[in-house]
Symmetry: C2
Subunit: 275 residues, 2 copies
C-alpha cells in the first residue's frame, strides 16, 4: 500500500502555477499517493484564516501534517500561512522574490492578480484571435485564410491535430490550422491542393498504428476505419508522403499535448509566449 499524503495548493490567484509546479515535484515520488486540494483566490485575511484552519484540521484528522504549496503573492498573507499552518509549507513565490529584488536593485510590487490578468489587451486579442483561428481552421474546415497560419498541422484522422492546434492557440497564442490527410490523398499520391502552396509552414503528426486503432475504436467501434489494417495503411502512406514532400514530422504516440506543441514550436522556430 502506498503511503497517502494530503497536499494543498494555495494561491491568491488561480492556483494553476502552484498546481503545475507542485504536480511536477510530486511525480518524483512514485511510492506515494497524494490527495490534492486546490484552494484558489485566498485574497482576504478571513480566507487566510479559513485555509489555515482547513490545513490544520486535516493534519489532526489524518495524524500527519499536510504538504502545502503556496504561491500567495501578498507578503503578509503568505507569511501568516507559513507561520501558522502546521504543514510542510513550500513557498513557490516569495522564495524567489528576494534574490530577484537584489539582482534588479528594485522592490517588487507584491500585487496579486498580475499574471493571468488581462492588463495587456494586445496580448489578449492575439490569444482570442488564435483561438478563433484554430476553431475555424480545424480539420480542413476553412482554407481561405491558411496564409495567416503560423503553423499548419497535417496527419491522418485522430493523430492529435485538433488538441494540439487548440493548445497552441490557448497556451501560446499561436495561430495553428490543421488539415487531414485521407485515403483520397494517398490514392492521388499528392498533397491536398489547398495546402500545397503552404509547404514551409506544414508540420506532420504521426502515430503508431496500434495506438491509432485504439483511439479510433473508441470513436467507431468495429469499423473498417478503426481496423488495424486500415490504420497501418493510412499511417504508412501518410509518413511516405511527408518524407517525399520534406515535411518535418513528430511521433505523437507517447507524447502529451504539451510536449507535441512545444516540440513543434521549437523545431519550426515559432516564437512562443506562455499565458
Amino acid at each position: 500500500m502506498p503511503t497517502r499524503r494530503t497536499v494543498f495548493f494555495i494561491s491568491d490567484r488561480t492556483g494553476i502555477t502552484a498546481e503545475m509546479l507542485g504536480n511536477s515535484l510530486l511525480t518524483q515520488f512514485e511510492d506515494f499517493q497524494f490527495r490534492r486540494i486546490t484552494v484558489p483566490f485566498i485574497d482576504s485575511p478571513e480566507k487566510v484564516e479559513d485555509v489555515i484552519r482547513q490545513v490544520n484540521e486535516t493534519g489532526v484528522a489524518e495524524g500527519r501534517r499536510p504538504i502545502v504549496f503556496s504561491s500567495v503573492v501578498d507578503e503578509i498573507a503568505s507569511e501568516t500561512i507559513r507561520a501558522r499552518a502546521e504543514a510542510l509549507t513550500l513557498d513557490l513565490f516569495q522564495i524567489f522574490i528576494a534574490p530577484l529584488e537584489a539582482e534588479l536593485a528594485a522592490k517588487s510590487s507584491h500585487a496579486a492578480g498580475r499574471t493571468h490578468g488581462i492588463a495587456n489587451s494586445h496580448e489578449y486579442y492575439t490569444r482570442m484571435e488564435a483561438i478563433n483561428f484554430a476553431q475555424s481552421h480545424d480539420d480542413g474546415a476553412a482554407t481561405r485564410e491558411l496564409a495567416k497560419a503560423q503553423v499548419i498541422l497535417v496527419g491522418v484522422s485522430r493523430c492529435g491535430k485538433t488538441p494540439t492546434s487548440l493548445y497552441l492557440a490557448l497556451q501560446f497564442g499561436v495561430r495553428a490550422a490543421n488539415f487531414p490527410l485521407t485515403p483520397d490523398d494517398f490514392a492521388d499520391h499528392k498533397l491536398p491542393g489547398s495546402i500545397d502552396g503552404h509547404r514551409p509552414r506544414l508540420f506532420g503528426l504521426t502515430i503508431l498504428p496500434e495506438r491509432l486503432r485504439e483511439i479510433r475504436e473508441e470513436r467507431r467501434p468495429g469499423s473498417r476505419y478503426a481496423s488495424i489494417e486500415n490504420c497501418r495503411y493510412e499511417v504508412r502512406e501518410a509518413e511516405a508522403m511527408m518524407q517525399r514532400e520534406g515535411i518535418p514530422m513528430i511521433d505523437t504516440t507517447s507524447k502529451s499535448i504539451e510536449e507535441i506543441a512545444t516540440t513543434i514550436l521549437h523545431r519550426a522556430k515559432v516564437e512562443r509566449h506562455v499565458y
Copy 2:
C-alpha cells in the same frame, strides 16, 4: 526608459512550468523590460553546454548577466547550469526536492519527463474526451449529450463562452458545453428549451456592453449586432434572465480565461485537475 534584462527559461522538458512561474515573478517588477528566451528539452550534456554558452555570450554582449529560471529535473545537469552559467540562476525545481525528500523520508526519482507525459492513460482519455466534448458542444451545436456536461456555460454571443469551454477541457479535463442566449430567447422570456432541464449545471457569463461592442466590432464592423444599443439590450436581457432563473453569473470583462475557468470550477464545486 525601462531597464532591459534578458531572461532564460531552461528546462529538460517543455519549459511551460518555468515560464509560467517565471512570468508571474517578473510581472512584480514593472519598471523593467524583460527579453524572454525559452530553451526547452535540455536533456543531454551537449545541450547543457550549448545553453550555458548561450547564456554566457548573452551576458558578455549585454554587459549584464542574464536571469535564468531553471526547472531542470536531472540533478547533474541542473548543478552544472547553476555552477557555470554566469547568471542569477533561480532553480524552481531542485530547491524544493530536498525538503520534500526530508518530509517524505524518501528519495526522489529525479526522472525528467514525468509531468506532461502520458504515463497515465486514463487521465489522457479523460482529457481527450473533454476536448472532443467541448468542440462538439460549442455554441449550442449539439444538445443530445448535454446530460454528460459537467458545466454548461450560457451567455450572449462573444462573451467568452468558447475560449472558457476549451480551456476547461484542455487545462482541467472538465467536460464543458456552451449555449448562446439570443434575442429570440429574450423575446420568449424563457431559457432555450434544450438547456431548461439542466439548470443545476448552468453557469452564466456576462460582460460590460462597452467591452462587448469592441469585441463584436472586430468581427462585424458597423453591424447592428455590434452596436452599443444592441449590446446593451442583449446584456441587460441576459442578466435579467439569469437572475430570474437563479443561474450563477460571472462578469468576464476584466478577467483572463484562466480566472474565468478557475472561478467557475470553484463556485460550481467541480473537481479540477491541472494537466
